[in-house]
C-alpha cells in the first residue's frame, strides 16, 4: 500500500517536470548562495584564527611597549629576573614592491602554545636559526626572490606573513628590538612582580576573538545578510513549488485517504518525498555554493586585505562540517517552505472538494492584513532608526524594512492596478488590468522576491556609488601632493631633503609613531605646518584656528573613526600614547579601521617613542613632476620608491572597486534568483490561468494576442514593483550609509543619488520580467486549441 501510494504521489512530478525543476533549482540556488557565503566566511575566519594563533595571541598574555619597541637589554633583564617570555620581532619588508609582514621568533623560548611553525624535521631547527629558513604560505613564498633565504611553504600560515628566526628578522628588519614579548602560560615560583621587572611595558591580555576578526565582523555580517537574503528569495520559489504540488494533488490525497491510507502515513510519505527532494537539491546546492565561493573568494580576499589588512588565502579548503551545514540548511529551508502545505494536508477533511482551489488566492482582506503587518514592521524599523544603536540593530532594522516593504507590496499592487483601471477606456485594457490584479496573489511571492532583490540592488548600489564619490573626493584631498617618495634609511632621507630643497614648493615629511590611542593600538602622525594641509586636509569638524593651534602644539587632530568610537569632538581631551591632548579637529579617513591622530611634527618627536617613516610628500607644479622624478632617480633612489599621485589614486580606487565586487556579484545573483522565481511562478500559473483566458479567447481574441497580454502583465507588475522598490532601496541605502557603515566601519558617508542607475535597473527589471514571462507566453501562443476547449467541457 505504502509503496503504491508513494509511487502515485511521486508520479505527479513526472507529469509536472517544470514544477520539479523549479523546486530543485530554487532550493539548490538558495542553498548555493547561502553555503557559498558561509564557505567564504569560514575560510576568512580560519585565516584570522591562524593569523592570531601564529603567535599565540589568541591564548597567551603578552608584554607590549607603550610606544616604540622593546630593547634587547630589557628583554634580557626580564629573562634574568626569571620570567619566561619569548621575544617577537614584527615588521614589514618589501618583496618586489609588495609589503610582506616578517615575524621573527625565538624557537628556543617560544611557548608550545604559540609555536607558529613545525621545526620537528631533521635539521629544521638548525636551518631555521643558522641558515635563515623562512616559513610562508605558498602564495607568499612565490613572491620571495631567490636572493633571500630558502623558504618552506606551509598552508597553516596566513598569506602575507613570513616567519623567520630572530637573527634573520633582525637582519632584514634592521632592528635589535622587539615588538612584544609573549608570556609563557606557566611561570616559575617566587618571581619578582612584573611591574618591577618591566615597569614600562603593558601587560596585554589574550585577544578575545582577535582584532582582525572583530574588525571584519561587519564585513562578514554584510555577506551573511546577503546570503540570507538570497536564501530567502530562493525559498520563495521552493514555497511556491511545494504549495502548488500539494494543491494539485489534493484530489489524489483524497482518493488515497478514501482508499484507506492513514493520514499519518500520507504525511509521512509526503515528508519523505520532501526530504528526498531536499537532499538532492541540497547536494546540488552545496556543490554550486562551492563554485560560487571559489569564484568570489579571491575578490573577498582582496577586499579584506584592502580594507582591513587581513590576510586571507585565495584558495578554498573543503570542510565536511560546511557540507553538512549546507545540506542542513537545505533541509531546514524545505521544512520551512513545506510546513504550511503539510499542515494544510493534515487538516484536509477526507471529503473536501476535489477541485483544487485556485492557487494561493488571497482576498483583499488578507492582503490588507498582510499589509498591516508590513506597515507594523516598517514602523518598527523607523523606531529602531531613531532610537536603536549597534550593528546588529542596524541589520534588524534592515530586515524589518525589507520584509515590511515586501508584505505591503501586494496591497500596493492591488491599489495601483485599481487606480489604473479607473483610467482604462477599452474592454481589453479593463480586462488586462483586472486580470493582472487577479494574478497578484499568485505572483506575490515572486514579486516580493523581485522587490527585495531590486531594493537591495538600489540600496547597495547607492551606498557603493555614494562611497565612491566621497572616496574619490577624499582621495583628491588627502593626496594633494604630486609625488610621494620613500627613502631607504635616515641618511638617504636627509640627503633627499637637501637635494630637493629649492626644487619643489614644499617637502612634507610623513612621520609616525606606533602608540596606543585611547588604549587601542594605532598610529600617530606628525606633520609640519604647510598650506597643503590647510587647504586640502578633509576636516569634518574643527576648531576655527585648527592649523595654527596644531602648529603651536596645542592639540591633535583625530580621525573620524576615533571620534565616533570614543565620542570625541573638538575641545575634548584625547589620550595619545602617554600624554593627553585637546582635540582640535576631526578628519575623514576612509579605509582605515583603526584610530589615528595627527600632531605637529615637533610634538610627535617630543613623545619619546622612535619616530618611524621615511616618506615625503612633495608639492610641485605638475609640469615639473618628471624633472623631479629624474632628479631623484639620478641621485640613486630606486624608481619604485617614487610614486606619483595618479598611481596611488589608481591603486586606492582599485582596492575600492574590488571591495565591492563581491557585493555586486551577490546583488546580481539575487536579482537572477528573483527573476527565476518569477519565471517558475508564471510557468505554474500559466496552466492554472487557462480558465480565465479561454472565455476571452472564445470571445474573439487570438492566442497570440493573449500571450502578448500575458507578457505585458508581467512587465506591468515588474514595473509597479520597481516603483515601490525605489523608495525601499533608498531607505535601505540610507540605513546602510547612516547606520550600518557608521557602526561597522566607523565613518559616515553623505548619500548621493544616481537616477541614471535606477533607470538602468528599472529597465533590467522589465527585461527580466519580460524574459520570465516569455516562455509561458510562448507556450500559450502555441497551445493547441483543444487545451482551451477542454476548459469549457471539463469539470474543473
Amino acid at each position: 500500500m505504502k509503496r503504491a501510494a508513494f509511487s502515485a504521489l511521486i508520479s505527479h512530478w513526472r507529469k509536472h517536470p517544470i514544477q520539479l525543476v523549479s523546486l530543485l533549482l530554487g532550493l539548490a540556488l538558495a542553498t548555493a548562495l547561502w553555503s557559498g557565503v558561509q564557505a567564504i566566511n569560514a575560510e576568512a575566519r580560519a585565516s584570522y584564527d591562524r593569523a592570531a594563533g601564529i603567535l599565540g595571541q589568541d591564548e597567551l598574555q603578552r608584554l607590549e611597549p607603550r610606544t616604540g619597541t622593546i630593547p634587547l637589554a630589557d628583554y634580557i633583564a626580564i629573562r634574568r629576573a626569571g620570567w619566561l617570555v619569548s621575544p617577537v620581532m614584527d615588521g614589514f619588508i618589501n618583496l618586489n614592491g609588495s609589503r610582506v609582514r616578517l615575524i621573527g621568533i625565538d624557537p628556543l623560548t617560544t611557548p608550545p602554545q604559540s609555536a607558529p611553525v613545525d621545526l620537528s624535521g631533521d635539521g629544521d631547527l638548525q636551518s631555521f636559526v643558522r641558515n635563515g629558513l623562512f616559513f610562508a604560505h605558498p602564495d607568499t613564498a612565490a613572491q620571495i626572490p631567490s636572493t633571500l633565504p630558502p623558504v618552506r611553504t606551509t598552508e597553516t600560515l596566513t598569506p602575507g606573513i613570513i616567519i623567520a628566526d630572530l637573527s634573520t628578522a633582525a637582519d632584514l628588519l634592521q632592528t635589535d628590538s622587539f615588538a612584544r614579548l609573549i608570556l609563557a602560560p606557566e611561570q616559575p615560583i617566587n618571581l619578582p612582580p612584573l611591574s618591577d621587572v618591566a615597569p614600562d611595558l603593558l601587560l596585554v591580555a589574550p585577544e578575545e576573538g582577535n582584532d582582525i576578526a572583530r574588525l571584519t565582523d561587519s564585513f562578514h555580517l554584510n555577506l551573511t545578510a546577503f546570503g540570507l537574503l538570497s536564501f530567502g528569495v530562493g525559498l520563495f520559489i521552493v514555497h511556491a513549488a511545494i504549495g502548488l504540488a500539494f494543491e494539485q494533488r489534493r484530489p489524489l490525497f483524497r482518493t488515497l485517504r478514501a482508499l484507506g491510507l492513514r493520514k499519518s502515513t500520507l504525511l509521512g510519505l509526503l515528508a519523505t518525498e520532501l526530504f528526498a527532494l531536499a537532499l538532492i537539491a541540497g547536494t546540488l546546492g552545496v556543490a554550486l555554493g562551492y563554485l560560487v565561493a571559489a569564484a568570489l573568494l579571491p575578490d573577498v580576499a582582496a577586499t579584506l586585505r584592502g580594507l582591513y589588512g587581513a590576510q586571507v588565502s585565495g584558495a578554498l579548503t573543503l570542510n565536511p562540517a560546511w557540507w553538512l551545514s549546507g545540506l542542513a540548511i537545505a533541509l531546514l529551508g524545505t521544512a520551512v517552505a513545506g510546513a504550511q502545505s503539510l499542515w494544510r494536508t493534515a487538516h484536509l477533511p477526507i471529503l473536501a472538494p476535489a477541485q483544487p482551489r485556485a492557487w494561493a488566492i488571497a482576498s483583499l482582506k488578507s492582503l490588507k492584513r498582510q499589509a498591516l503587518g508590513g506597515a507594523g514592521l516598517i514602523a518598527l524599523a523607523t523606531l529602531l532608526a531613531i532610537y536603536g544603536s549597534g550593528l546588529t540593530t542596524g541589520f534588524i532594522l534592515l530586515g524589518c524594512l525589507l520584509v515590511g516593504a515586501a508584505l505591503t507590496l501586494p496591497l500596493f499592487l492591488h491599489f495601483a492596478l485599481n487606480l489604473a483601471s479607473k483610467f482604462s477606456r477599452t474592454a481589453l485594457s479593463d480586462w488586462t488590468l483586472a486580470d493582472t490584479r487577479q494574478q497578484v496573489p499568485g505572483l506575490s511571492l515572486a514579486l516580493m522576491a523581485l522587490l527585495l532583490a531590486m531594493a537591495a540592488n538600489i540600496g547597495v548600489g547607492t551606498m557603493v556609488s555614494s562611497f565612491r564619490v566621497t572616496f574619490t573626493g577624499w582621495l583628491d584631498q588627502r593626496l594633494a601632493a604630486q609625488l610621494y617618495v620613500t627613502a631607504r634609511d635616515e641618511t638617504e632621507a636627509a640627503d633627499l631633503a637637501n637635494l630637493l630643497d629649492g626644487q619643489v614648493d614644499a617637502i612634507l615629511p610623513i612621520r609616525y609613531i606606533e602608540a596606543s590611542i585611547e588604549s587601542a593600538p594605532g598610529q600617530i602622525y606628525g606633520i609640519i605646518d604647510d598650506v597643503t594641509y590647510r587647504e586640502n586636509w578633509p576636516l569634518i569638524a574643527a576648531d576655527p584656528d585648527v592649523w595654527d593651534l596644531l602648529a603651536a602644539g596645542e592639540g591633535a587632530l583625530i580621525n573620524e573613526q576615533l571620534s565616533l568610537r570614543e565620542n570625541l569632538a573638538p575641545g575634548d581631551p584625547v589620550t595619545l600614547g602617554r600624554a593627553e591632548f585637546t582635540v582640535l579637529g576631526v578628519y575623514s579617513d576612509y579605509g582605515n579601521p583603526r584610530g589615528e591622530a595627527i600632531l605637529s611634527l615637533a610634538q610627535l618627536r617630543a613623545q619619546g617613542a622612535p619616530v618611524q617613516g621615511l616618506n615625503f610628500a612633495l608639492r610641485l607644479p605638475e609640469a615639473r613632476v618628471n624633472e623631479v622624478t629624474d632628479l631623484l632617480t639620478s641621485a640613486g633612489l630606486p624608481a619604485r620608491n617614487i610614486r606619483d599621485q595618479a598611481a596611488i589614486k589608481a591603486f586606492s580606487l582599485d582596492v575600492f572597486e574590488r571591495t565591492f565586487t563581491v557585493t555586486g556579484a551577490l546583488n546580481a545573483l539575487t536579482l537572477g534568483v528573483a527573476a527565476l522565481a518569477l519565471l517558475t511562478s508564471l510557468l505554474t500559473l500559466s496552466t492554472m490561468r487557462l480558465p480565465q483566458l479561454a472565455p476571452v479567447w472564445a470571445m474573439g481574441l487570438t492566442r497570440a494576442k493573449l500571450a502578448r497580454l500575458e507578457l505585458l502583465r508581467a512587465v506591468i507588475l515588474a514595473a509597479l514593483t520597481a516603483l515601490i522598490a525605489l523608495p525601499v532601496g533608498l531607505a535601505l541605502a540610507w540605513v546602510l550609509l547612516a547606520i550600518v557603515n557608521v557602526e561597522a566601519f566607523g565613518w559616515r558617508l553623505p548619500m548621493t543619488l544616481f537616477p541614471r542607475d535606477w533607470i538602468g535597473l528599472f529597465i533590467a527589471a522589465l527585461i527580466a520580467a519580460a524574459l520570465s514571462a516569455a516562455w509561458p507566453a510562448r507556450r500559450l501562443a502555441t497551445r493547441p486549441a483543444a487545451d482551451l476547449i477542454k476548459v469549457f467541457a471539463h469539470e474543473r
Binding site: D430, A698, T702, A786, A793
Partner: protein
C-alpha cells in the same frame, strides 16, 4: 486520435433555433466548437453568412467570433476579475458596439440589476449563467451558441434561464444553436437534431 464527427451536415437560418441532442460523447460539443470557429474540422466546410470558417486563419476566425458569434458555456465562464456590469459589457465592447442602455436593459430583463457591482464568485450558478447570457446578447451576435447552458443548474432555474435565453435571442433576431441532453428543453426550440456516434439523425 479518433474521429468524433463524421458526415455531419446541418444548416440554420437567421432568427431560428436548433437543438442538438445526444448522449455523452456523441460529439455534440465538438460540433459546437467547430461552429464557433474555436477549432477546425479535419475535412468539410462550415459556412457562416458568406464565410467559410475552414478557409479562415486563426485571427480571422477570432475576428468573426468577436463580432458575430456569442458562446454560452455550461461552466458560465465569466471573467472572475471583472464585476457583473463589466462582464455583461465585455463582449460588446470587444466587438466595438458597446451600448450602455442595451446592457442595462438586458441586466434588468435578466434580473441582474441589483448585482451589477458584484463579482462572479459572489453569484449563484443561475445568476452567473444569466450574466453569461447577458454578456452574449449585449454583443448582439448573429449566432448564439450554447453548450448545455443549464447543465449546471437545477430544474427550476434551468427553465427560467432557458426562457430568458430564448426570449433574448428572439429579441435580437439571432440564430441559436444549443447543445443539450434534455429532450424537454430541446422541444422548446424550433428544430431538433439528434447526434449519435458522430452521425446525425433527425
Amino acid at each position: 486520435m479518433q474521429t468524433v464527427l463524421r458526415d455531419v451536415s446541418l444548416s440554420l437560418e437567421a432568427g431560428k433555433s436548433l437543438a442538438l441532442t445526444g448522449e455523452s460523447g456523441s460529439g455534440k460539443s465538438t460540433l459546437l466548437t467547430l461552429v464557433a470557429g474555436l477549432d477546425a474540422p479535419d475535412s468539410g466546410a462550415i459556412r457562416f453568412q458568406n464565410h467559410d470558417l475552414t478557409q479562415m486563419d486563426d485571427a480571422a476566425r477570432a475576428d468573426l467570433r468577436r463580432g458575430e458569434i456569442g458562446v454560452i458555456f455550461q461552466q458560465f465562464n465569466l471573467i472572475p476579475s471583472l464585476d457583473v456590469a463589466a462582464n455583461i459589457a465585455f463582449h460588446a465592447r470587444l466587438a466595438g458596439r458597446a451600448d450602455g442602455e442595451w446592457c442595462s436593459e438586458l441586466a434588468h430583463h435578466l434580473g441582474l440589476a441589483d448585482h451589477l457591482t458584484r463579482y462572479p464568485e459572489q453569484l449563484s450558478g443561475g445568476q452567473q449563467q444569466r450574466v453569461a447570457i447577458a454578456r452574449t446578447l449585449a454583443a448582439r451576435p448573429k449566432l448564439v451558441l450554447a453548450d448545455e447552458p443549464t447543465g449546471n443548474l437545477d430544474e427550476d432555474s434551468s427553465d427560467t434561464v432557458l426562457d430568458l435565453l430564448m426570449s433574448g435571442v428572439r429579441d435580437t433576431g439571432a440564430a441559436l444553436l444549443m447543445v443539450t441532453h434534455s429532450l424537454r428543453q430541446a422541444k422548446k426550440l424550433d428544430r431538433r437534431l439528434h447526434l449519435s456516434h458522430g452521425q446525425v439523425s433527425p
